[in-house]
Symmetry: C2
Subunit: 86 residues, 2 copies
């Protein structure tokens, strides 16, 4: 058994607007004269420390956890899961 | 000039507690019988699309933007910046 750090990124699906990112872009970044920025999207991230047999089983367990405990809303959000050695 | 995707992860400094992550762990994950999880920390993420000469200048510009516009509070938070080809 080994410890893994698992990052879960939860963000709106590409077709769904992100008013928070749009507001940061329009009212903060562009007003601050950073004209080379063309888009901002916000996301939520959870970092798990988990003890499992392998990277694969860590990934599978966290995917199952997120789905079963409804960590995110699958109607509007998508998740990306990345596993690292802890 | 090329487009880059820049990910900025904003999280509490290691010594500063994260009640949101602690609550998800204690009242959701451990009650849901995922006993192999030992820690959860939450973070905020911003994904920028920026047009710059190089990865280095994209990273530098976003670092400057985050510091100057006070995107995060340097007293309690730390940031991690990663640059990808868009």
């Amino acid at each position: 058994m080994a410890k893994f750090e698992v990052h879960v990124i939860i963000e709106n699906k590409p077709g769904i607007s992100d008013p928070e990112g749009a507001t940061i872009l329009k009212d903060l970044v562009l007003k601050g004269s950073y004209k080379s920025v063309s888009q901002i999207r916000t996301a939520k991230m959870l970092k798990f420390i988990i003890t499992e047999k392998s990277k694969q089983s860590a990934q599978k367990k966290i995917q199952e956890l997120c789905d079963e405990l409804r960590i995110y809303n699958p109607m509007v959000s998508k998740t990306t899961i990345k596993v690292f050695d802890a």
